[in-house]
Symmetry: C2
Subunit: 258 residues, 2 copies
C-alpha cells in the first residue's frame, strides 16, 4: 500500500496508523518482529526518514520496542495485577475477579524484593498526609520488587519516626505478619485508607530505578492509612509502570437496590 498523498495526514502518520491497526487487530502479536525499515520503505514508497519518524512515534506511544540490531518488536505487556484491596482482603470477594486474575496472573514468575530503611525528612506531600510538623522525621521502608529479575514496581512506606522507632519496622527485612500488624501492636490499628492514583510520565530517577523504556508512563499510587480517630499512621507511595500493571478494585453496588 502506497501512502496517499492527497490526504492531509502526513505520510509518517499514515504508516504509523497502518502498523497500529495491525497491532490492534492482532495481525502483529506481542513479541512479533516488525517489517524492516527497507520493507516499510518499499511497501509505502517513502524515504527512510519517513519510516523512522513513524517508528519513533510508535516507540513513544509504547506500542513497539527497538532491539538493535534485530529491529523493532511489538511490545509484550505482561501486566501484574495490582490489587490495593488485597491488603485487607486476601481473596477476591467475587468469582468474576477470581477468573479475571487467573487469566492474567503472573504465575511461575520468580519474585524478589530489595528493602532498605532510612530516617528522613519526608517529602512535602508525605509530610502533609502524615500530619507531621515541620522538622518531625519519618522512617521510610523503600522496596523495589522484581519478577524474574525485572524491576516491577517501587513501594516507599513512610511512618512517623516517633511511633515506629525501635520496632521491627526499622529492620530492613521482610515482616512476615506485615507492617500493619506491627502498627496495630504499637497501638495504631488502621481502620480505613484513602487511595489516590496519579498518572504521569516518570522522572529520570524512576526511569533508572525501574528500567523504563520510552513511552512508559507510571501510576503513582499514594495510600494513606488512618486510625479510627482519623490519625494518619502510614503513607505508602507506590510507583507502578504502566506496561507492567493493571490496577484492579472490586466494588459493592448494594446501595443501588435500596
Amino acid at each position: 500500500m502506497a501512502v496517499s498523498r492527497e490526504r492531509r495526514v502526513p505520510a509518517w502518520a499514515q504508516i504509523a496508523d497502518a502498523v497500529r491497526a495491525q497491532i490492534s487487530a492482532g495481525e502483529l502479536a506481542p513479541e512479533d518482529r516488525l517489517p524492516t525499515e527497507a520493507e516499510l520503505m518499499a511497501r509505502h514508497d517513502v524515504a527512510r526518514s519517513t519510516v523512522r519518524q513513524a517508528l519513533t512515534a510508535l516507540v513513544n506511544e509504547g506500542l513497539i520496542v527497538p532491539r538493535a540490531p534485530r529491529g523493532y518488536f511489538v511490545r509484550n505487556r505482561k501486566p501484574l495485577f495490582y490489587r490495593p484491596q488485597q491488603e485487607f482482603r486476601a481473596q477476591p470477594a467475587y468469582p468474576e475477579m477470581d477468573r479475571f486474575m487467573a487469566d492474567h496472573s503472573a504465575e511461575g514468575r520468580e519474585p524478589k524484593q530489595e528493602i532498605e530503611v532510612a530516617i528522613v525528612d519526608p517529602p512535602a506531600d508525605v509530610r502533609k498526609r502524615l500530619n507531621l510538623a515541620e522538622g518531625e522525621l519519618a522512617a521510610v521502608r523503600r522496596r523495589i520488587r522484581y519478577l524474574d529479575g525485572e524491576p516491577y514496581n517501587t513501594n516507599d512506606s513512610y511512618f512517623p519516626l516517633a511511633v515506629v522507632q525501635g520496632s521491627e519496622i526499622m529492620n530492613p527485612a521482610d515482616i512476615a505478619r506485615g507492617a500493619n500488624e506491627v502498627l496495630r501492636e504499637l497501638g495504631y490499628p488502621q481502620t480505613r485508607t484513602l487511595d489516590e492514583i496519579y498518572i504521569r510520565m516518570p522522572d529520570p530517577n524512576e526511569i533508572k530505578r525501574l528500567e523504563l523504556g520510552p513511552g512508559t508512563p507510571v501510576a503513582c499510587h499514594i495510600c494513606t492509612g488512618l486510625c479510627d480517630d482519623g490519625t494518619p499512621i502510614r503513607v505508602v507511595v507506590n510507583i507502578l509502570p504502566g506496561d507492567r500493571h493493571v490496577i484492579v478494585y472490586e466494588r459493592d453496588g448494594m446501595e443501588l437496590r435500596k
Copy 2:
C-alpha cells in the same frame, strides 16, 4: 551556574535537572514563565541546541508547556477528583476524604457534556467483558465531558443491545436518574462492579478528542457492572488524561481488627 563538564551526565540533562528541581521545590510555580532560551544559554554557558534539548525533555515529561511566542510555562495541573465509588455512594464515607476533595475541588468550573448513542459491533475487550457472542450487538452511549470548555474525559458505556433496545438508554440525552436505575427497572440491578485501570500513552484519536499535549499519559478505566448472578450488564470505558485527574478510592480496613 555553568554546567559541569566533568560529570557523566550530559549538559542538557543537567539543565533539565536544574529546572525540574526548581519546579519540585516550588521556586517555579504552576503558570510561571521559564527563563528564555537566551537566559538559559547565558546561565549555563551552552549552545541554543543544548537548551532546546533540555526544554524538549521537560515538555515530554509533561512538566512544562510551550506557548509560542511567549515561551515555556510550568504546567498547571488542576486535577479533577475522579471517584469511581461515587456511582453508588454520593458522599464520601470518611471525613478525611471530604476535606481532601474540598482542597482539590474543581468548584466554580462550568460542566458540559456531549452525548451520542450508537449501535455497534463492540471492540473485542468490551465483547469479552459483556459476554456477548460473536455477532451480538451492543448499544454505546459516548460522552465527552468538558469543564470550562476544556475536554476533561470521555466515557463510553456499552450495554447488550437486546437488553436496552427501546429504553431511555438509547436516547442521546442525560438520564437524570442514571442509566443504572434504568437497568434496574429493566430487571438487571447491578450488585457489584470490577474496576480495571490501565496506564498508557494515548492513541492519536484520544489525543485529538481530548486535546492532549505532549507528555500526557492517560488512565483507561474499565468498569464492568454485574448482576447478582454474575451477568455482566454494563461496561464503561473511561479515558482520563493524567494531567486533569486524580483517581481516588476509600477502603475499609476493618478486617485488620479481627
